[in-house]
């Protein structure tokens, strides 16, 4: 067999800016940074709560400073992107069956939102009670 001279096209480092769906994908993956940030943020909160009322108040004052608020708004946007994309992909990632019958994707997605609402309501009640 004769050797075929083929041309390999290099993949640009900016490949993910070339198509909308690729861009959304990379943004979805970058939500990981903000998930980690919120974990750190909540850990700082828990630490402050443990240190007493004054530390707790200081923490909330710090959290209300403009820089942190802006950061948290951005982070919240990415977190919601994570939630929405995660829920949307679940039916594709696993075949859910009830009594041997496949559950339609829309039902799987909807039930996750129900779960989200229930959990959120519970946490809200627990915190503000």
């Amino acid at each position: 067999m004769t050797e075929v001279r083929t041309y390999r096209r290099p993949m640009s480092i900016w490949w993910w800016t070339k198509k909308r769906s690729y861009f959304v994908f990379v943004m979805r993956e970058l939500s990981s940074i903000f998930v980690a940030w919120f974990v750190v943020f909540l850990l700082l909160l828990v630490r402050a709560v443990g240190r007493g009322g004054a530390a707790y108040d200081d923490f909330l004052d710090w959290a209300a400073s403009p820089g942190i608020v802006v950061l948290n708004f951005i982070a919240m946007g990415f977190l919601l992107l994570h939630t929405v994309t995660w829920f949307n992909l679940t039916p594709q990632a696993m075949a859910v069956r009830v009594h041997g019958r496949p559950v339609p994707p829309a039902v799987v997605i909807a039930s996750q939102y129900v779960g989200l609402v229930v959990v959120s309501a519970f946490v809200y009640w627990l915190v503000t009670r």
């Binding site: 990981s32 998930v35 919120f38 943020f41 709560v49 919240m76 977190l79 995660w86």
Partner: protein, 116 residues
């Protein structure tokens, strides 16, 4: 016989953390990062919050949640570096990402243990 591998287990933790981040994190982040600091919701009383957070069940749930979410972040960010930025030093990146998650987990144990 299936060989013992870590990839599947890390992936399971990644998925678990993804669920946690999707379901629990939005309300926690909304309350404590935006609503309470900005005064949309009244500041919960410190004594009450301490009682809630210091409850053994809360502590265990929080610990599990924090660890899984950290692994989730580390895993996802690692692949973002590979794919998005085409980072070539793969082992180094992996050590860095999971290492950060590990350190974060130790910190979480530390913070939560003080409340127990």
């Amino acid at each position: 016989m299936t060989k013992r591998r870590v990839e599947p287990l890390v992936w399971l933790m990644f998925s678990g953390g993804g669920v946690m981040a999707a379901v629990f994190l939005p309300i926690l982040a909304f309350l404590f990062a935006l609503a309470i600091p900005l005064g949309w919701v009244a500041r919960p009383d410190h004594v009450h919050l301490l009682a809630v957070v210091g409850h053994p069940v809360t502590l265990v749930v929080l610990l599990g949640m924090f660890v899984l979410m950290l692994v989730h972040s580390a895993h996802r960010f690692r692949y973002t570096l590979y794919d998005g930025l085409q980072v070539k030093r793969k082992t180094f990146t992996a050590v860095l990402c999971y290492g950060a998650a590990f350190i974060g987990s130790i910190a979480a144990v530390n913070v939560l243990a003080r409340l127990a």
